[in-house]
């Protein structure tokens, strides 16, 4: 039987398993280092199965050995932000968790696809790629695709139209420095830039940049998890059904726009093997500069950590 393994059964991990069950994509092994959490949440989801007609099983994994037979590993383990924190503030703590897991995953599941949701996602994706030594096509961070769903929502609200027919592209860092490519956003093919005023465009870009912070500050004790889980499951679906869907994921750069060695989001064709093809849209000089300076910042944070 095919299954994915979700590491970390907090809000994002448990809801990812839940969305996978809802969509009937595949079985899920749910793991958490804390005793009982994966069992409790897995059982709760399965007890909804008679009502929701789930065809798959969600089962708790006692040890990480289950990843040896898994198709996809979804990494959600780690601390989340509290109000006032930047995503980078989580790096030191979450980095050590990921470094350990990367080695384990490389040993047990060298052929699995790895989705990373642990924050700060670009840094963690970079760290994972470095520590695991796995091919970059197998490692995808949930960055741009989450920004994209938020942008689509804000655009739909501004337009008064259903979000379903809106498509969008967000590249670069999953942070304030994200690059929202408005000229690549459209409604049923019509460019968004022709449908919204410049002021409206500025507004939805700003809302997208601040969307994650806003929820952390409102909720006080947790960060967003519904939209992040939905973004993860969208990529899982593309992999398991071999949809070859274009999605913005954080990936290790290997010379794109002259950048190498750090992970940021770019559009990519996602299919059975993970990243099937990287798409490098034509960027303005300004955008390229922003992308390079983002890469420099990431590199700096990584080095500061290395020296410690």
């Amino acid at each position: 039987m095919h299954y994915v393994t979700v590491i970390g059964s907090g809000n994002v991990g448990a809801n990812t398993a839940f969305f996978i069950a809802e969509k009937g994509i595949t079985d899920v092994a749910l793991y958490d280092i804390r005793d009982g959490i994966a069992t409790g949440k897995g059982l709760d989801i399965m007890e909804a199965a008679p009502i929701r007609k789930y065809r798959n099983r969600i089962w708790p994994a006692k040890t990480l050995d289950v990843i040896a037979d898994t198709e996809t590993v979804i990494l959600t383990a780690g601390k989340v932000r509290s109000p006032g924190m930047k995503r980078e503030d989580l790096f030191e703590e979450n980095r050590s968790i990921v470094a350990q897991l990367a080695a384990e995953i490389a040993r047990l599941a060298p052929h699995a696809r790895i989705l990373i949701a642990t924050e700060p996602v670009d840094l963690i994706t970079t760290e994972f790629a470095r520590c695991s030594g796995l091919d970059r096509s197998r490692i995808m961070g949930i960055g741009g695709c989450l920004d994209v769903t938020r942008l689509r929502y804000f655009a739909s609200r501004e337009l008064g139209l259903s979000p379903e027919n809106i498509s969008a592209t967000v590249i670069g860092r999953h942070s304030d420095a994200m690059i929202v490519m408005l000229r690549y956003c459209s409604v049923s093919g019509l460019p968004l830039t022709t449908l919204l005023s410049e002021e409206q465009q500025r507004k939805i870009v700003e809302q997208t940049r601040r969307a994650g912070d806003l929820i952390v500050n409102m909720a006080q004790r947790s960060s967003a998890f519904y939209a992040p889980s939905a973004a993860i499951v969208d990529v899982v679906d593309a992999i398991h059904m071999d949809l070859r869907r274009v999605s913005c994921v954080s990936m290790l750069f290997q010379g794109e726009y002259g950048i190498s060695g750090v992970a940021m989001s770019l559009p990519a064709v996602i299919g059975r093997n993970g990243i099937e093809r990287v798409i490098t849209p034509k960027l303005t000089e300004e955008e390229q500069q922003l992308l390079r300076s983002s890469a420099g910042q990431l590199e700096k944070i990584l080095q500061t950590g290395d020296e410690r």
Partner: protein, 316 residues
Amino acid sequence: MKKVAVIGSGNVGATTVYYIAEKNIADVVMVDVAKGLAESKALDFLHTAPLRGYHGQIVGTTEYEAIAGADVVVLTAGIARKPGMDRMELLKTNVNIAKQASRAVARYAPEAVVIVVTNPLDVICMVALRETGFALKKVIGQAGVLDSTRFCYFIAEALDVWPGDVMAMVLGGHGDSMVPLARYTSVGGVPITELLEEKVIEELTARTRSGGGEIVGYLKSGSAYYAPGASVAKMVEAVIKDEKRLLAASVYLRGQYGYRDIFLGVPTVIGGGGAEQIVEIELTEEESTALERSAAAVQEGVSLLESFYSPGTGDV
């Protein structure tokens, strides 16, 4: 689009909203008195809309006015029992919350069907009925659907069959005192009494009774919400779409099954009008005895309630 108000935005409330959004059943208003909680979760759902194709509105607020015109109000607000807290303390707190919410419902959503989820369920139903002054069929408690789905799942697991093919009916109060009707429980139409040994059915029944406790035991802090949310959403959908589904629900009895003036879980037709019809089935002696025990447990809770509560007065 019809409108559902969910009062209380904890895990059960929020997960109920999730199921409603997924099926595009209705517009949703989430109300929670804790500032930021309903707002943040509503926004997180809206960010999900493009991916999942939601087309209803989802609003989060601290203000009860926002429930105006709701077709269904789901009451999930309340505190959970913490270690060391006595039953009376929990009861008083949740009765007070239910009072406040019910008065708001009467004022802003006088046409609504109220689905109560807050524990102790059968007692809080009574408070909601008195405080809203609504017709009896407009106040329904969710308990039996959850107990049934757990029972169905455990049976599916034991038989290694698809959970969607198992159907079950349970009676009585929620949890410890529930009465599963094994002879009316079937897999693809075949009674489980023909598929499982009596001893196994008893084990599964016991596991269902303590189904909520089992999950609390694993989670240590917090309790179940995926299966509870799914159960509530099923009832909401039955009302919104006027499905006239036969479900186990806690309803006010006036002589049915020999009980009067208490809320107790019995088979009920749920549709646009609320609890449209109570279905009386013949019970074996054993089942009747079990139901009696269940009713006694509910009555005990109501007596506790009467010791400090009179409708429409006291602090809110």
